[in-house]
Symmetry: C2
Subunit: 706 residues, 2 copies
C-alpha cells in the first residue's frame, strides 16, 4: 500500500475533524496536522490521527513543498519512458541449445529490473536472484494511470511441434523495448512440469528469444502450480471424507463433531454460519437447532455418481486417467471410480487466470461446484467449509511473477497453459498490472494457447469478457512448416525426423496450406481486431516461400505480414514485426464478443452444425435448471485441427461437431462442452525428455532442458 | 562460492605455472599474477589465469595487505559472538492464539538476520521478506571452523495431542540467544500440509515460542515438499509408463524410440551409457549392439507385483490408501493395485534429510530401488533414466530455509516430519551449516519426532550415522498430562475435551506415569549421552506435580530436570533449561550406536522378542541376497506406545514385537520393518481444521491457523 502518495490527513480551517484528501487537493492556507519531518522519506504513513496538535505555518509551507515534490514524483513514476538497462546479445551461428543461450546471459538482479520499470520496493517479493512476485496493491496506486496497448499473440492451427507463439511474444517485446525503446511487457503462462519432463520440453521461448533463467521458468517457478495442486487436492479429499463421515455417523454424532464443545462452549465457525443462512436457518446458537435443522445442516448428501471434481498432479501420469479409489478397509467399501487430471487443467488454475482481486478469487473458490446432492442441487466448496483454506493456499499464487527476457526486458509469468482442455490464457491480473506499468504509449503482449480457433477465441469470449480489457492488435503466428502440413504435406510428429517436403522448397504445398492462415485471419476479423501475421522463419524456409506467405496473408485481409528472425537474431530479428504492430495499434479496433455454442462451432470452426449426445443434453438441462445457463462457453477441443478430428488439416468443412459431454466450472465462470474425446492427462512417451536432463553437482548447472 | 576468501593464484618465483593456494600461505617475496584493484571488493574471482603478466612489487605489497585484511576478516567472521538484534516480547495473559501472537510481532527482514549471523550476501537466496534459502557453499567457506554443541530435543511417549517438543526447541534457543546471549540455532522440520488442514494444525511451535511468520512456516514455505512430491511422482509415472511401453512394443521399436536418430545421428544419452556399463555392454555406438544386447538394454522387465514405489500427495486423503490404477482404455488393461502416501513419507524426503551434498543426493536418488525385475534383481531410478531429472527437481530443495523465532533468533527449516512411518528428523545439512554458524561456543538445537524410542533412536542410529555428528546433550520433553496418561489416566484424544484427571492435581497418576519418563531416560543413556528433562508446564499443573516430576527425573539418572514456561513467557521462561543444557554440554558424552533389529526391539522398546511374518522373512532374505543386508534399520512403529499397541501406555513389558513386512529405502540407505499395521496416509476428521481457516481479502491476514 502506498497511501502516502495519494492522501494526507488535513484539518481544513474551521473543520473539527481531520479528513483524508488527495495530495493534489492541498491549497495554500490549509492547516495541516500530524506533520513529521520524515514525511519526505515516502515511508511514513500520513494518516495517523492520534495527535491533534496543529502545526506551525513553517511546517505547513514545508508540507506544500513536499506535496509539489510528491506530485512531480508521481507524475514521473507514471508517465516516464523506462530507463531500462537492456542486456546486450551477441547471437552465435549455428544457434546453440536453449539452455546454453540462457546460461550464457547474466540476468539483471530482479530488484534492479523492478526499480527500472517503476515498481516500489514494497510492491515486490523477491524469490531468489531472478524472480519476484508483484503485489496487487500496485493496481490501487496506479489506478488513474491510462492503460498501454494490448496485443494478443495467437497462431494458425499448429503441428504437434508448436509454431513458436511464445518465441514470437518474447521476440516482439525484445524488439519493442531493447531496439525501439518503447516500454513493453510480455505476459506468459507458467509451463506445466508434466510436458517439461515428458515430450515438449520447456516453454520459455527458444533460441535468442527466451525468458531467463529458462530453468527457473520451466521448473517450480514461484510455486503457483504447486499451490493450485494443494488447493485442488484438499478440496477433493474433503469431498470423499465427507461422504464417508456422513455415511457412517448419525445426525447427532455428526453435529457433535462438526460443532464441538470447546472449553465448555459450542459455537459455529463463520463458514458454518454462512451455510445456515443459505439453508434459511436464521439461528446462531448451536443449542437451538431442531432435529430437522440439524439433519439439513450436517448432511450435504452428495451423490457420488455426480462428482465432477477430480484430483490433479503436475506430472504426465497416464495410469491415473481412470482409477478406483477407496479400496482400503478403512474406507468401509465406499469405493468409486475417479481420475487425476494434469494440474494445469484444474478449475483453480482457470480461476487464477480470470480473477481480478483477492476478494473475487475467494468468492470464486467458494462457488466451485463439485457435485450434486441427491436432490440434484449443486454442492459447492463453500458447503464443504473449505473456501477459506483454499484462499489461504492460493494467497501468494495470486501475485504475478516478474522475470526478464534475454535482452533484460520485463516479463510476467502467471497462470497456465492447455487451451485445448482449459481456457489456456495467462492471467488477467498480470495483464492489468503490466498495462499500468508500460504507460499509455507502451505495449503489453500476451499469448493465447494453440490456434486462434481455440486460444484466441477463449481469450476474447472468456478472458476479455471477465477483464473488460479491449485488445488493440492480434499477432497471428504462422510457419512455412505448418502451412505445408495444411497444404497436404506428410504428417508431422514429435520425436520423428521431418520429411523432406518440410526441409526443401515447395511453393505448391505452401500456397495450398495458406487456406488455414486465411481462415484464422477471418476468425480474428470476426472479433473486429486488426491482425498482423508474424511468419516465424526457419532456416530451411526459402525466400520465395516466405514472400508467398506474406503476400497471401495481406491479400487475406491482414493489416501486415512480416517475416521474423528473433529465434536466430533476438529482438533485432523482430524489429519489423514490432513496427507493424505499433502501426496496427493505431488502427480502429471494433472489438466484439461472439456468443453461443452454435456460433463458435459454425463461425469459428466452420462446422455445419453441432450434435449433442444425450449426456450433453441432460447436463445442459441440469445446468440451466441450476441457473448456470447464461455462462460463457469454454470448448474442450483438439488444437490440431479446426474441426474435432486432429487429422483433418487445412480448413475442414461440412462436418457436424459432436458434443460428447458438458461440464461446468462455476467458480471460474464457464460451461465447457467436450468435443469428442479429450484427454485431461498427458502420458509419458517411450523416451521422455528426462533422459537428457541432468544436474552438474559441482557447478549446479542444469543440462538438457530445452 | 567464496573462493576469493581462501585461495589466490600465485606464481612462486621460479615456478612455471600459477597455483591456487590459501591466502594464509602467502609470504613476502611471493610474486603474484593477475592482481586487480577490485580484489578488496570481495566479489572478483582470483583464480583467473588467462593473463600471465607478472605484477609489479607495488601491487604485490598491496596484495599482502589485502591478504592480512582478508585473514582478519575471515577470523572476525568465524569466531565472533553474533551482534544480534533480538526482538522484544511482551507476553500477554491469557496467552492469545498462535496466529495472533505471530502477527503481533514484526519479524526482521531475513537479509538483516542473515547478515547478523555471518552469512554473506551471495550465500542466501531470499524468498519474500521473511524466508531465505542458504547455499551449501557456506560449508566450504567455513570448513575449518570448529562445530558448536549439538543438542537433540526428544520426548516421552506422547498423547495424540503432542507434548510440545517444537515449542521447547524454540523456547530453548530464544532463551540461549535472546536472554543468555549465546549463539544458537534451532533446526526444525517442515510441517506437512496434510495435518495442517486436517487435525493437528501447524508445527511452528506455539504461544510465545514460535517461528514467525507462522503461516509462512506452515504453508508452502520455500516449496521443498512440493519439489519432493514432483520428483516422487515423476518417478512413479515413469515406472508404469515404462511397463506399458515394454509390454506393447518390440525390442526394435523400443530401441528406435529410446535411441532415436536426431539430425541424422543416433546416440546414447549419458544415463543410457551408464546403464550399458552396468549391463556389461562396453559399447558406445548404438549401431553396434547385438539383438541380445538391445533386448537387455531396452527391457527393464519390471515385475509389477514387486513395485514398492508409491505416488504421494501432501494432503490427508484417505481414499487414496488403496486404489486401482490404469483403468482407462489407453492403458490397455495393465491395471494394478497401488496407493498414495503422504508426501513427507516419500523416500525422497528421507534422502533430503540424510544427504550431505548435491553430489551425494544425486547418487542416492539414482540408487532408489522401485521394484524388482522378473529375475528378482532390483530396478532403480537410474535404470529408468530419471536420476538427473529428479536431481534437477530437487536442486533448490537441498538448501535449508532460514527463518526466525518470535525473539528474532535464527531457525533452519529443512526436511520433514513423521518419525513413525519415516525417520522423521530434520536435515543433516541444516544441522551442519548451523553448527558452523554458531561457532565453537554456540548451540544447535535440533528436534526428533515423537518419543525418544522412535525419533531419538532414529536420530542416533540413522541420522548421526550418516552425518558423523556427535550430540552433546539430549533434552527430553515431558508433560504432566502425558505422565498422567501413562499412570493410568483416561484416554486422551484430539478434539475431545480433557477429563478432569488432567486439569486437577493428581500426584498418584503423575508418580505412576513417571515409569515412561524413566524408561525414556534409560533409552537415552543406552546411547551414552547426558539427558536434561524439560517439563513443559501447563497452567493446570500444580507446583507439587511439577516438583514431583523433576525429583523423579533426577532420581532416574537425568543430569537435570527443569520446568519450562516458554509457552506463556517466551525465552525468559526457558532460561533455566538453557542454563542446564549449557552445563550438561560440558559433561562427557560417550555416544555409541545400537545395532540390530533385535537390540532395538529389546533394549529400546522393551520387547521380549520379535516375530517375523513370512512376508517379512522373505523380504529380509531378498534384501540380503541383493546386498542390502548391512543397512541400518528404520522402524515403522506407532508413536503412541513403547510397544506396537497404541493403547499400551506406561512401560509395556513381556510383548513380542510383530514385524509384518520389511521394505527398503536404498537411496536413503535403510531398511524399514513395519511393526503391525502403520498407515502411510492420514485421513481428514469429520471437522477438519480448515473450517476455521480463512483469509481476509482486504488485509491479506490469515486466520484460524494454530
Amino acid at each position: 500500500m502506498s497511501w502516502e502518495l495519494h492522501h494526507v490527513d488535513v484539518v481544513v480551517a474551521g473543520s473539527p475533524k481531520p479528513e483524508s484528501v488527495p495530495v493534489s487537493w492541498l491549497k495554500p492556507g490549509t492547516t495541516l496536522i500530524n506533520c513529521s519531518s520524515d514525511l519526505l522519506s515516502g515511508r511514513q504513513s500520513l494518516n495517523n490521527t492520534t495527535e491533534n496538535a496543529v502545526c506551525s505555518l513553517a511546517v505547513a509551507m514545508r508540507m506544500q513543498n513536499m506535496v509539489k515534490n510528491t506530485e512531480r514524483w508521481i507524475h514521473s513514476q507514471q508517465l516516464r519512458k523506462w530507463d531500462l538497462h537492456c542486456l546486450k546479445l551477441q547471437p552465435l551461428s549455428p544457434v546453440p541449445s536453449d539452455i546454453e543461450i540462457s546460461r550464457a546471459q547474466s540476468p539483471k538482479a530482479v530488484d534492479v529490473l523492478a526499480k527500472e520499470i517503476g515498481l516500489l520496493t514494497d510492491e515486490i517479493e523477491i524469490y531468489g536472484q531472478t524472480k519476484a512476485k508483484v503485489r496487487l496493491s500496485l493496481l490501487e496506486r496506479l489506478k488513474d494511470q491510462p492503460d498501454g496497448k494490448y496485443v494478443l499473440v495467437a497462431g494458425i492451427t499448429p503441428t504437434p511441434l508448436g509454431e513458436g507463439k511464445s518465441t514470437v511474444t518474447i521476440g516482439l517485446v525484445q524488439a519493442l523495448t531493447a531496439h525501439l525503446k518503447i516500454n513493453s511487457f510480455a505476459c506468459l503462462r507458467q509451463p506445466s512440469q508434466g510436458p517439461t519432463f515428458g515430450v515438449k520440453g520447456g516453454a520459455a521461448g527458444g533460441g535468442y528469444a527466451q525468458v531467463i533463467p529458462m530453468e527457473e521458468f520451466n521448473l517450480h517457478l514461484t510455486g503457483d502450480i504447486h499451490a493450485i495442486t494443494a488447493a485442488n487436492n484438499l478440496l477433493a479429499a474433503a469431498i470423499d471424507a465427507r461422504i464417508l463421515h456422513e455415511n457412517t455417523q448419525s445426525d447427532k454424532a455428526l453435529y457433535n463433531r462438526l460443532v464441538p464443545v470447546v472449553k465448555g462452549v459450542r459455537g459455529f465457525s463463520s463458514i458454518q454460519l454462512a451455510r445456515l443462512r443459505r439453508l434459511g436457518i436464521n439461528k446462531t446458537d448451536p443449542e437451538t437447532l431442531t432435529e430437522e435443522e440439524i439433519s439439513r445442516f450436517v448432511r450435504l448428501d452428495i451423490d457420488p455418481s455426480t462428482i465432477t471434481w477430480q484430483r490433479v498432479v503436475d506430472t504426465n501420469d497416464r495410469f491415473l486417467r481412470k482409477i478406483t479409489i477407496g479400496q482400503a478397509n478403512t474406507e468401509k467399501g465406499f469405493v468409486r471410480q475417479a481420475q487425476f487430471d494434469i494440474a494445469v487443467a484444474s478449475e483453480i488454475m482457470a480461476i487464477l487466470a480470470l480473477t481480478t482481486s483477492l476478494e473475487d478469487m475467494k468468492e470464486r473458490l467458494g462457488k466451485i461446484v463439485v457435485a450434486n446432492d441427491k436432490k440434484g442441487e449443486p454442492v459447492t466448496a463453500e458447503d464443504l467449509g473449505v473456501t477459506g483454506a483454499l484462499a489461504v493456499l492460493m494467497k501468494d499464487a495470486i501475485k504475478p511473477t516478474l522475470m526478464q527476457t534475454l535482452e533484460g526486458t520485463p516479463v510476467f509469468v502467471h497462470a497456465g497453459p492447455f487451451a485445448n482442455i482449459a481456457h489456456g490464457n495467462s492471467s488477467i491480473l498480470a495483464d492489468k498490472i503490466a498495462l499500468k506499468l508500460v504507460g499509455e504509449k507502451g505495449f503489453v503482449v500476451t499469448e493465447a494457447g494453440f490456434g486462434a480457433d481455440i486460444g484466441m477465441e477463449k481469450f476474447f469470449n472468456i478472458k476479455c469478457r471477465a477483464s473488460g480489457l479491449v485488445p488493440s492488435v492480434v499477432v497471428l503466428v504462422a510457419t512455412v512448416r505448418a502451412l505445408k502440413m495444411h497444404g497436404g504435406g506428410p504428417s508431422v510428429s514429435a520425436g520423428a525426423p521431418l520429411k523432406k517436403e518440410y526441409t526443401e522448397e515447395n511453393l505448391q504445398l505452401v500456397a495450398d496450406g495458406c487456406c488455414n492462415l486465411q481462415k484464422q485471419i477471418q476468425i480474428t476479423q470476426l472479433f473486429g481486431v486488426p491482425v498482423v501475421v508474424a511468419l516465424n522463419v526457419f532456416k530451411t524456409d526459402s525466400p520465395a516461400e516466405v514472400d508467398l506467405v506474406c503476400k497471401i496473408a495481406k491479400q487475406s485481409g491482414a493489416f501486415d505480414a512480416v517475416p521474423c528472425n528473433h529465434w536466430s537474431d533476438g529482438g533485432r530479428g523482430a524489429v519489423k514485426l514490432a513496427q507493424a504492430v505499433e502501426k496496427a495499434a493505431n488502427q480502429k479496433s471494433s472489438f466484439k464478443y461472439l456468443y453461443s455454442l452454435e456460433t463458435i462451432a459454425q463461425k469459428v470452426y466452420g462446422a455445419e452444425d453441432i450434435e449433442l449426445s444425450p449426456a450433453a443434453q441432460s447436463q445442459i438441462d441440469r445446468y440451466t435448471r441450476q441457473g448456470f445457463g447464461k455462462l460463457p462457453i469454454c470448448m474442450a477441443k483438439t488444437h490440431l485441427s479446426l474441426s474435432h478430428q486432429p487429422e483433418k488439416k487445412g480448413v475442414p468443412t461440412g462436418f457436424i461437431l459432436p458434443i460428447s459431454d458438458v461440464r461446468a466450472s462455476i467458480g471460474a465462470g464457464f460451461i465447457y462442452p467436450l468435443v469428442g474425446t479429450m484427454s485431461t492427462m498427458p502420458g509419458l512417451p517411450t523416451r521422455p525428455c528426462f533422459y537428457d536432463i541432468d544436474l552438474d553437482p559441482v557447478t549446479e548447472e542444469v543440462k538438457g532442458l530445452f
